[in-house]
């Protein structure tokens, strides 16, 4: 969609001005990103300088087994928001949901970008990759997702896995995983991969990470490949209901006294303590609110396998499997075996009694002392 601009190899700074994005908007974008990422404030200026010197970064966006929610999240607004400005900083050479071209033309655009920016483009992936039965469960233009990922990843500079599906397998990978879905990192092993999980991820997190990659390179990542700036703290670490948790004051339902008083949502299933994301600070819909603020516990959507961690409404301290009946079953089985062995024992005992003879001192080992 922005191919002509790339051809001019113009710097971003120049091209933005002619597109009506003022230098000040640019700087404002950078201060907002720097603030959200907890970068030193002076980094905003450096980021703006670097961005304006850069040429437009070629980006190929592949969507696999997904719901398009991630794309929705970043583009959701009909007004230009600051976050969506990121699209002016990159050249989105292929995104089959967003691009106007279709069919052969679309695939050509991808191949061309791949050739022209070999080794320099960023690959963004949303959606998991089904690998069972040769990957037949999801294809685009007759190419399986698996093939396409391997092919495009080969010449990419770096990969950004957007959303929990691409990062960790997400919903498609949930039990029983009928399509054999896996994460990008299960397939591509030799490229830097940044995971931006979330179902969907927070827009400013996607924007911030992309801006960081464009300017300062790959940000510091945690052990699950997530940028520390956004995923370093758990929801619980930053939760405003934390004082209630610490005191042990919990809502027991969604409309009881505790819920009305804004108490902690642990007992109604909040997974905030084990979930790392920026919702509690950055919030959603331009800082309006986030799930816990609107009275619902965190479901843990930015963690691997969150679908398989049991009910969203059962406390973290309980089991994730439905154990109703298990304990009673074990009790019954224990009782049965216990009684059986009791019968066996009493049998042995009565036999022993039948054979009972008075004990002499010799029997007790007091031989000839």
């Amino acid at each position: 969609m922005t191919e002509e601009r790339v051809d001019k190899a113009e710097t971003l700074g120049g091209s933005l001005i002619s597109n009506g994005v003022s230098r000040r908007t640019f700087l404002k974008f950078c201060s907002t990103v720097a603030s959200a990422m907890a970068l030193p404030p002076a980094a905003a200026k450096a980021m703006a300088e670097k961005l304006s010197q850069a040429t437009r970064q070629s980006v190929i966006w592949l969507s696999f087994q997904e719901c398009t929610g991630c794309t929705e999240s970043i583009t959701r607004s009909h007004k230009p928001t600051l976050e969506s400005l990121i699209f002016d900083f990159i050249s989105l050479d292929y995104h089959h949901t967003l691009q106007a071209a279709s069919g052969d033309a679309a695939e050509h655009a991808r191949e061309e970008a791949q050739k022209k920016h070999k080794g320099k483009y960023i690959l963004i992936v949303d959606g998991a990759i089904p690998v069972k039965d040769g990957g037949v469960y999801s294809t685009i233009a007759g190419i399986t997702n698996l093939q396409m990922l391997q092919d495009v990843a080969k010449d990419a500079m770096a990969i950004v896995s957007v959303g929990t599906c691409a990062a960790y397998g997400g919903l498609p990978k949930a039990n029983p995983n009928p399509t054999g879905a896996v994460a990008v990192s299960d397939i591509v092993k030799d490229k830097p991969i940044i995971n931006i999980p979330g179902c969907p991820p927070i827009p400013v997190v996607m924007t911030g990470v992309l801006a960081h990659v464009l300017t300062f390179g790959i940000p510091e990542l945690d052990s699950h490949g997530r940028p520390m700036a956004f995923f370093g703290d758990s929801i619980h670490d930053r939760c405003y209901r934390r004082p209630f948790y610490d005191k042990g004051q919990f809502a027991k339902g969604f409309d009881d006294e505790g819920a009305r008083k804004g108490w902690c949502l642990f007992e109604v299933g909040c997974k905030g303590p084990t979930t790392h994301n920026a919702c509690a600070t950055v919030k959603w819909n331009n800082g309006t609110s986030f799930p816990i603020q609107s009275g619902h516990g965190c479901i843990g959507c930015s963690e691997p396998d969150f679908w398989d961690a049991g009910s969203f409404y059962k406390p973290l301290s309980t089991g994730s499997m439905n154990m109703e009946g298990w304990a009673t079953g074990a009790l019954a089985a224990g009782a049965a075996v216990g009684v059986a062995s009791g019968l066996l024992n009493s049998n042995t005992k009565s036999k022993a009694e039948a054979k009972h003879e008075p004990v002499t001192l010799e029997d007790m080992g007091a031989k000839n002392e």
Binding site: K28, T32, P80, T81, L82, K247, G262, W263, G287, T288
Partner: protein, 136 residues
Amino acid sequence: MNLIDIPVKAMETPTGMASALLAELNDHLHNLLKKGETHVIDLLSLPLNEADINELADLLGVGEVKATIKSIGSSSIRETAYSGIWWITHYGDDEKVLSELIEVTQVPEILVTHMDEVRHSAQVMASSLAGQEKVI
């Protein structure tokens, strides 16, 4: 009713951060004066509550410059009563605060017209002059 029954309400009382910040700003003013070093403080990254921010605003006072930038959402740039200390608030398109900064500088970065833009406007000016000549 015992102690545990009393629900906690986040009380917005100043934490004393404002005066600590003032001391820091004092250092930065001296740096600007002696070495020409500018500095930026990101208020959103500090553990300040609303009362702290109000207290800080009161302590810094209102100076003589107030500028508004209209880009995507507006931005307000105000010099405080302490010359060289500027208070900058960026709003999103829905009037939500995106970032809130204090800059210690002669002119805040965002007010200075960038040379790229000067170049661009020179071009536009030239072409509109050329257009006028044709008309005449």
